[in-house]
């Protein structure tokens, strides 16, 4: 009889305790979510501020072009100011994009890369395509740094293609290999480059570094006159 009382006492204690633990966990979770929201709002506010100031610089630069004597030197400097603000603008745009919770899927990041390519080659004679994106990948969550590294690799690669290759066709083909490994192959039919003689500028090094961060493999193959192929494979983390 006494044993039964003690036992039920212990049991009740256990139940009360675990309820308390659950409540504490819930509170902690809510607090974390609230903080995340505040952080997000702060980031967005700041980026809006950046965007506004960048626009001012942009507009003022254009007004200046209209008001001063233009010579090759001044034109060059003004264009550099414009290029830098454009890149900054693009950068903040990317960060804002990546902060939106609904964009953290494989589907969204691949479409982002596609939109980037389309916009980049928009007013040119180059045919750009990115194919192979599957709708079901909108349920594959990617950690934010993974998305960012992936985007930066392709921004670099596509920008280089535009600047140096003189290609008429640029294609990216995406496919999911077995065991959750994604493969992305970028091909262009441009003039290619000699690996040894190309200055190891920041671009290619950066791409390799980012591929490492993805824990993936990056192969770059190019020969003068034969175009360029870039092959990136990396593992998609399993869904939580």
């Amino acid at each position: 009889m006494l044993a039964a009382c003690i036992l039920s006492g212990i049991l009740m204690q256990y139940i009360v305790n675990s309820r308390k633990q659950r409540r504490l966990r819930l509170l902690a979770k809510l607090r974390a979510e609230e903080q995340a929201k505040i952080r997000l709002r702060t980031a967005e506010d700041f980026h809006d501020e950046i965007g506004n100031k960048l626009t001012r610089i942009n507009v003022l630069t254009n007004v200046l072009k209209n008001k001063i004597e233009l010579n090759p030197e001044t034109t060059r400097i003004l264009n550099q100011i414009e290029d830098n603000t454009a890149q900054l603008y693009g950068g903040t745009r990317d960060i804002l994009w990546s902060l939106k919770p609904s964009n953290d899927t494989l589907y969204e990041i691949l479409n982002r890369i596609r939109d980037f390519g389309i916009e980049l080659y928009q007013d040119t004679e180059v045919n750009f395509s990115l194919t192979g994106i599957e709708d079901k990948w909108s349920s594959y969550r990617l950690p934010m740094d993974m998305s960012r590294n992936l985007l930066m690799i392709f921004k670099e690669a596509l920008n280089n293609g535009l600047k140096y290759s003189g290609a008429k066709n640029v294609s990216v083909v995406v496919s999911m290999k077995t065991k959750g490994v994604l493969q992305m192959v970028l091909k262009d039919d441009g003039k290619g480059f000699e690996r040894q003689t190309v200055k190891k500028g920041n671009g290619i090094n950066n791409m390799h570094i980012r591929a490492e961060r993805l824990k993936g493999k990056l192969y770059l193959d190019s020969r003068p006159g034969k175009g360029t192929i870039m092959n990136l494979t990396f593992k998609i983390p399993p869904n939580r």
């Binding site: 809006d48 001012r56 942009n58 254009n62 414009e82 389309i118 916009e119 928009q122």
Partner: protein, 210 residues
Amino acid sequence: MARDLDIRVAIVEDDETIRDGYAFLIGNTAGYKIVGTYPSCEDALKKIEHDDPDVLLLDVELPGISGIDALPKFKKLLPDTHILILTVYEQELLIFRALGSGAAGYLTKNTPPEKIVAAINEVMEGGGPMSAHIARMVISSFKRNDSSPLTRRETEILEQIATGKSRKRIADELFIDLETVKSHIKNIYHKLNVHSKADAIKAAKDNKFI
């Protein structure tokens, strides 16, 4: 009063540097005339009818009455004016709502002045700027509702835009006039207008924005 041939442009933008800069750059371009600049919708709504602009550049990220909320009021005062909304960053939902409320197109503020002028021209000729990104958004919005008000041809053109092809290239590939493509796009915008109010609300709910 005789109307000269310049395109009449009005600007509503709260940032003074940007507002004055745009006024200078556009006003300085041959064929365009600035007929009014305002720091807010409230100010603009009082006087803009008298300005009689052909095109209105409207910032939609204003303090006070937002450009989006004021859009129907502007449309009422100026039924024949083309309204181009301005945003700092392309915000899908914002643009969608604006297009659905009667905007003729949108521009991001970091667009170089030549392209702003080109967009003004385009909208005067009946087309509206539509990026591949927005086209993709429109397509998925119609898919989301399981029924599309678009004709087969319009859907085809929209899908081509979504892949990033230029209007001229689409016209060439489909063996039709550039004018025909532009007019299809105009119809798409019109149907979007009718369709997207309800969808913008649904999209907001799905994305947990509201």
